[in-house]
Amino acid sequence: MTGRAIFWAVVIIILATLPPIASALGQPFYIDLVRRMMILAIAATSLDLILGYGGMVSFGHAAYLALGAYSVGILAFYGVTSGWAQWPAAIGASALAALAIGAVSIRTSGIYFIMITLAFAQMLYYLGISLEVFGGDDGMRLKSRSLFSGLIDLGNAVSFYYLCLALMLAAIYVTYRIVNSRFGMVIRAAKSNEARSRAIGFSPYRYRLTAFVIAGGMCGLAGALNANHTNYITPGLASWVQSGDLMFMVILGGMASTAGPMLGAFALLIAEEILKGWTEHWQVILGPLLVLSVIFFKRGLAGIFRA
């Protein structure tokens, strides 16, 4: 219990002190990098809710990342620049899409579930490509970052960094509360033994669908953050490569663990960054590294820290 407290204290201190240190060292690039890690950590955390705890292997989770980003981009395109409108729209649109996708896919299981979620995400990917108004294949530039009535300026790299930090911690905490609540116990139980759950009176479908919608909405928020982070929105956000990356973060970090998705997101992006510095064929090295890490850390990075 105290070990866990120490772990989180260290995480928060490192992340909170990074901007001043990076600025002092004249390396503002790191603020950008870690901000991106934290945004993807939110997406991975949302995926862990359904993948790790709910046993729903969604191979199309990036769809909500793209929907969240496009919600911000499209509203900005039509002149709605207020974040108070854009971000709830991003969360709402993603949650709604998750409701529709989940309603169909959760009726299936195993390989069919994986393929259906993948198919929906690819559909959205091609929809993005076909929408010429919004840049089609090339994507669209976000004209201005979301505005929050002067409360916080996302143009300021450091303020935006701390907002991402706060939202990431909030997402992790909310997920932690959910998976340990009565609701969370139902989805975990249904993953553990569905026949038993039905025999004691749980109809898993409604609970799974609800978890799917929560995860979609949370990932939509990550999408809204990501649009503001890159200032650029492309259909590639919804691609299966991105979905695969999110899955990998969860598995690498440790499925069904509180800190796992965050650790996985950080580790994957750090490894990517280091290898990119060495060679342009970094993926050739990253692939085997990931395979080895899965073999040796069966419970993920979170298993090492017991977090």
Partner: protein, 245 residues
């Protein structure tokens, strides 16, 4: 309490249930026996709602439940234990039972409070573990418990639903002699407090616990009655007791 009429279920040419009539009175323990392949598991599956009959009706506590799903029947008070242990291996014994308590405590769309620390779930679960005799093992992961303890856990989970009818599918399956005796003793304490359908191979248990016995052979009930009458029935002796016991 339970009235089954004309229950029929076929798998291809095999009639696993062939027009079964069966009933359980309030507070009665009604045992179902029969040789392997007689259709006992198919019968229980239809009572619990896992399997849909091709024809016939199941009336439970005055309500036709034939078309209801297994979770809906469970919420109405029809609780089952499984022949092949079916528990949540990665949860503790207490959590297993607490989940069953939670299942009958209304909907679970509660997202914030920690369920594991909720006394409204823990305390009834702890009492039930004590009652079935594994109270001392409450915090052991179910995966690490012995087979006999799993059987007891199954019964505790069924009781957690505050059932009006218990479907016990071979509660003694795979138990050693001593464990079986203890389980029979425990089931004896449930007798009269619950209406029970007991499917069991252990003849000793059946004749000690049952008020009535139905004998199932090739999907048909060939005899129903008090244990002594069933034991004396020549058809039963020929079809079942003669060859098996």
């Amino acid at each position: 309490m339970l009235e089954v009429r004309g229950l029929t279920k076929s798998y291809g040419a095999l009639r696993a249930s062939d027009g079964i009539d069966f009933d359980v009175r309030e507070g009665e323990t009604h045992a179902v026996i029969g040789p392997n392949g007689a259709g006992k598991t198919t019968f229980i599956g239809q009572l619990a709602g896992e399997l849909t009959p091709d024809a016939g009706s199941i009336v439970f506590a005055g309500e036709d439940v034939t078309a209801l799903s297994a979770p809906r029947r469970a919420r109405k008070g029809l609780a089952r234990s499984f022949q092949i242990t079916s528990i949540y291996p990665e949860f503790t014994a207490l959590e297993n039972v607490a989940l069953a308590v939670q299942a009958q405590a209304g909907h679970s769309f509660r997202f914030w409070r920690a369920a594991r620390r909720d006394p409204a779930l823990r305390e009834p679960a702890r009492r039930l573990l004590d009652e079935v005799g594994i109270g001392g093992r409450a915090d052991v992961l179910a995966a690490n418990m012995s087979h006999g303890e799993h059987r007891q856990l199954e019964v505790a989970m069924a009781l957690a639903l505050r059932p009006r009818l218990l479907l016990l599918d071979e509660p003694m399956a795979g138990m050693g002699a001593e464990e079986s005796q203890r389980m029979i003793g425990f089931l004896g304490t449930l007798k009269g407090r619950y209406s029970i359908v007991l499917v069991e191979h252990d003849m000793d248990a059946v004749f000690r616990l049952a008020d009535r016995i139905s004998v199932l052979v090739y999907g048909r009930v060939i005899a129903t009655g008090a244990p002594a009458a069933v034991r004396a029935n020549p058809e039963v002796r020929a079809a079942y007791l003669g060859e098996d016991a």
